[in-house]
């Protein structure tokens, strides 16, 4: 290893060095653990009035010792908390208050706290020592009947309810925290993570600790814990964990897969529906299944609201009475949506009941206006005619209108797709319309894969039924092409746009509907031309679209004209024709403000386009104000990770670094990258672009070691995505990367990047030379 010795590299391989490091690190970790355990044992031994008999249990928070209380000669358990876990003022205050609450909580099935305090910097509490075994060991050893298991479970629920009534939420219920004594009764232990309702100290931002560890036991955690929603943790969180415990007691397994990485388990808890109990064991009574499944509902409002309600339903079952959990059927999702989006679904519900048939009973439809009821009673052909109504209705449930991006809506859409395929399989046109709607809805929810599948299915159905040149087929082609383009899949988009452009002249342009369709296609084609750099084609298409829409005065026509005008304005900004651009863009903002309102995403996007023009005109203050307004609206209505929100933030970032320097923009771009990675995914073009921008920012701030991997990634991925190493974004990042390599002393790395740049220069030269 000595630099002047006999070739350090030959004598010591990387593998040897790594192995040596590994051995030393392992030994140090073991020594630390031994030191900590020894230290805690000393702390326990120093508590006056007790004689430590031995170690009873080790956990993440500390160690529990079995001890003798010298004054009473009874056995007790002393729990000593690990130093640091309770070192902050908030934590220690919480611990003391929790002990105080629990000391007053006298319930035969909750372990009592007798004493507590602090010694040598460690908190401790003295509790009942329960002989017996953990709940899972007990069930495994005794193998009680289902009846006896439920009896035991009801006692657990009643004890948890007693804590809830005092405002204490356990937050870490699991079989190992429930001991069953020799008489077969449960005792709940370890309120170590308990929170009291309204507990300001317990409102930590998430279930994750600062060191990134999950607070609590993963497999038994509720969806709200898994999502890190500390503010949503209440008594129903314990109800959920009780559900997992009941499921495990009855089925001997978890309701979903809890193997794999922490992230995977958390995802499963949030997303995966529990496997039906009876599909694991057919002998389980359907009522028991209903109780457990209700307890395991992902949404808190669908669960039992208290552990007491759950205990009562279990008792009802044990007494042979009717339970309350029955009735939470598959109609729930639609019922919930009906309540939530009532105006939208008022017309759609009848159709759903008649044609798609979600099993919604007339109870659900109670209150639907007479007109809709008539539709519900109509014959099948007439019902099919309501497909449009339904499609329009459900299709308009978009995040930007309602701010709802929730999972029930997505689940309902998936269910709807399957039902539609089953029931409309022999009716291609209505099925294609349903897929149009599904594609839009999935896309609005940023579910790109199912969106693409639906758009493709719709086109396929129309190609087979109507052929290449039908108006509906061309519209469908156009929709799919736009989808590809929006997602930077230009190779997929190109042939479709070409087919659309070729078919356009053959279209009949009779009534307003035709005019609208043609205008919409023209606008999309114009944007395609724009993306390809065909300025003449783009401007001509925009202007033609505006002409197509002249004379049409339906609200939607005004909106479409506003879009065309906005797009043309945006395009004119890029060509330097600022006067006409300003006129078009302001007309667009005014029209959308009037039609959609100020707080609508469409208005916000129009404002963004106007802001771009203001930047070009060097009216930075006005532009910044418009960007910020738009970001507020888009974040609220579309979500912080939506591509439109991120794109607007990106503009604000560019403006910020231009005006105030890179340091001022650093946090904006870092946050954007994190958002994009989460929402759009690692390989999305926007994510890659933002990673590249972050790399540029870091490089400008002198952090070459951080900048380099980001720039390398951005260059590599963008070259693949753009299929062109000489794309302006690629060149920008490549130049920066070359500079970084040079500064880091990596001459070869810099040379490789400079070679790419030279090639691009050569290409550019040959393009301008005749």
């Amino acid at each position: 290893m000595a630099p002047n010795g006999e070739s350090s590299q030959a004598s010591t391989s990387d593998r040897d060095m790594i192995e040596r490091a590994r051995v030393q690190a392992k030994a140090a970790a073991q020594a630390q653990r031994r030191g900590l355990i020894g230290s805690l044992a000393n702390v326990a031994a120093s508590i006056p009035g007790y004689q430590v008999l031995g170690e009873a249990k080790r956990g993440g928070q500390g160690i529990v010792y079995k001890a003798l209380q010298l004054s009473t000669k009874r056995q007790v358990a002393i729990k000593v908390l690990i130093d640091g876990a309770t070192s902050s003022y908030a934590e220690s205050a919480r611990f003391e208050r929790e002990v105080h609450v629990l000391a007053q909580l006298h319930h035969p099935h909750i372990v009592s706290v007798h004493d507590s305090g602090q010694t040598s910097g460690h908190f401790y509490c003295v509790m009942d020592y329960i002989t017996g075994e953990s709940l899972d060991d007990y069930v495994e050893r005794i193998k009680p009947s289902v009846h006896d298991r439920l009896q035991l479970f009801a006692e657990v629920c009643e004890a948890v309810n007693a804590a809830h009534l005092l405002g204490v939420i356990h937050r870490d219920l699991k079989p190992s925290n429930i001991r069953v004594d020799e008489a077969g009764h449960p005792h709940i232990l370890d309120f170590g993570l308990a929170k009291t309702t309204g507990d300001a100290f317990a409102e930590s931002p998430s279930a994750m600790t600062m060191s990134g560890q999950f607070l609590g036991s993963l497999q038994w955690a509720s969806p709200e814990q898994a999502e890190g929603g500390a503010s949503r943790i209440d008594t129903r969180t314990d109800v959920y964990s009780l559900g997992v415990i009941a499921y495990h007691m009855l089925a001997g397994r978890f309701p979903y897969d809890v193997s794999g990485s922490m992230k995977q388990i958390l995802n499963n808890i949030v997303d995966l529906e529990p496997t039906k109990l009876r599909s694991v064991d057919r002998s389980i009574n359907p009522d028991v299944e209903a109780i457990v499944m209700k307890t395991l509902a992902k949404e808190r409002e669908r669960r039992y609201q208290t552990a007491g309600e759950l205990a009562r339903d279990v008792r009802r079952f044990l007494a042979g009475e009717a339970i309350e959990a029955r009735g939470d059927s598959t109609a729930y999702v639609m019922r919930k949506m009906l309540r939530k989006h009532w105006p939208v679904f008022a017309t759609a519900a009848a159709f759903v009941a008649l044609v798609i048939g979600f099993g919604i009973t007339m109870t659900v439809l109670r209150g639907v206006a007479v007109k809709q009821r008539q539709i519900a009673e109509a014959k099948t052909e007439e019902a099919l005619a309501t497909v449009d109504t339904f499609v329009n209705a459900i299709g308009s449930v978009r995040p930007e209108d309602g701010g709802d991006k929730d999972i029930p809506l997505r689940s309902a859409l998936i269910e709807l797709k399957d039902e539609a395929e089953d029931r409309l399989g022999d009716k291609p046109m209505p099925l294609a319309r349903v897929h149009d709607m599904l594609g839009q809805s999935f896309e609005s929810l940023a579910q790109l894969e199912p969106a693409e599948a639906s758009y493709e299915r719709a086109l396929d159905l129309r190609l087979k039924a109507l052929g290449e040149h039908d108006r509906e087929t061309i519209k469908s082609m156009n929709v799919l092409a736009v989808f590809y383009k929006k997602n930077d899949r230009l190779d997929d988009a190109a042939p479709l746009f070409e087919r659309v452009a070729a078919a356009l002249p053959t279209l009949r342009r009779g009534g307003p509907r035709d005019q609208r369709d043609v205008a919409a296609i023209r606008i999309n084609l114009a944007r395609w031309y724009e993306a390809r750099g065909d300025k003449t084609g783009a401007a001509a298409s925009y202007r033609a679209a505006i002409e197509d829409l002249e004379g049409l005065n339906e609200n939607e026509d005004l909106r479409a004209r506003a879009f065309a005008s906005g797009n043309l304005g945006g395009f004119l900004t890029s060509t330097g024709a600022y006067d006409e651009a300003s006129e078009r863009l302001r007309a667009c903002v005014d029209a959308l403000t009037e039609y959609r309102g100020e707080g609508h995403p469409e208005t916000a996007i129009a404002q963004v386009k106007l802001a771009h023009l203001l930047v070009k005109q060097d009216r930075i203050g006005e532009a910044e104000q418009l960007y910020r307004q738009a970001i507020d609206v888009l974040t609220t209505k579309m979500g912080p990770g939506h591509p439109a929100t991120l794109a607007t933030r990106s503009h604000l970032y560019e403006l910020t670094i231009k005006r105030d320097g890179y340091a001022a923009g650093r946090s904006i771009i870092e946050d954007m990258v994190a958002q994009a990675r989460t929402t759009l995914g690692e390989s999305h073009a926007d994510t890659v672009l933002y990673i590249g921008k972050l790399g540029m920012c870091q490089a400008h701030m002198g952090e070459d070691d951080l900048a380099r991997p980001n720039l390398e990634l951005a260059c590599e991925r963008l070259r693949q995505i753009r299929k062109d190493p000489c794309h302006p974004d690629c060149i920008r990042f490549t130049k920066e990367l070359a500079a970084v390599c040079e500064r880091m002393g990596d001459a070869a790395g810099a040379a490789a990047q400079n070679a790419v740049l030279e090639q691009c220069d050569d290409q550019a030269d040959s393009a301008v030379r005749p």
Binding site: E19, A27, M744
Partner: protein
């Protein structure tokens, strides 16, 4: 490094699989070495090698991987580079400082004394927080000993030999088969680890002051 493979290895390493971290380090070692070598320069080439830096960087990687937050492809190399550059900086700082030694600084008795313990406490930036400093001193020294025992072997050896027993860096380097620069680097890392251990032991010390 292939992003998918990196992601898989990082994932496994984060789950506590030391083989995965070993493989990850193995694959990144050549790039890491290439990044570090130019920074050593001719001036320090006789006192420090890239392998010295890599050895300590690997150890730090094993000790601190649980704190590594991977932000995608390339992040591991960036993280390792940062550690390695810090190590290089510490080594160079130590070598430069050794050229202008403070006469009051070293007690070369070869045995640990109260003064050398106090010097170490001062060097890691810890202060006594117990009400009676004198009464707690003996206990604090015992605690310091325990904390040093929990450090990785190389760190513990350098702290004992250099800070407590007062041996010269060149002598320690000779007994450990390392370069002089490596000793300064190990000492800086050892101090950092000890500082963390002391910070956690709040009943004896508080950081700062």
């Amino acid at each position: 490094m292939d992003p998918t493979r990196e992601e898989q290895l990082v994932k496994r390493a984060a789950q506590g699989d030391p083989d995965a971290l070993g493989d990850l380090l193995m694959e990144l070692a050549p790039q890491l070495r290439a990044r570090i070598e130019p920074g050593i320069g001719a001036r320090y080439a006789s006192l420090l090698s890239a392998d010295d830096i890599l050895q300590v960087t690997f150890l730090e990687a094993f000790l601190r991987f649980d704190r590594f937050d991977s932000r995608g492809p390339g992040a591991t190399l960036a993280w390792l580079t940062r550690i390695a550059q810090n190590n290089l900086r510490d080594a160079i700082r130590g070598l430069d400082a050794a050229k202008r030694p403070s006469p009051a600084k070293r007690v070369t008795s070869g045995r640990a004394s109260d003064e050398s313990y106090d010097g170490l406490v001062q060097a890691i930036g810890a202060t006594f927080s117990t009400p009676s400093v004198k009464a707690a001193r003996h206990e604090a020294h015992r605690f310091l000993d325990e904390a040093i025992d929990e450090l990785p072997e190389d760190y513990a050896h350098v702290i004992r030999a250099f800070d407590l027993e007062g041996h010269a860096a060149a002598d320690i380097a000779a007994t450990m088969g390392r370069s002089v620069g490596a000793i300064y680097m190990l000492r800086a890392r050892a101090h950092e680890s000890l500082r963390e251990a002391m910070g956690g032991a709040s009943r004896y010390f508080s950081l700062g002051g």
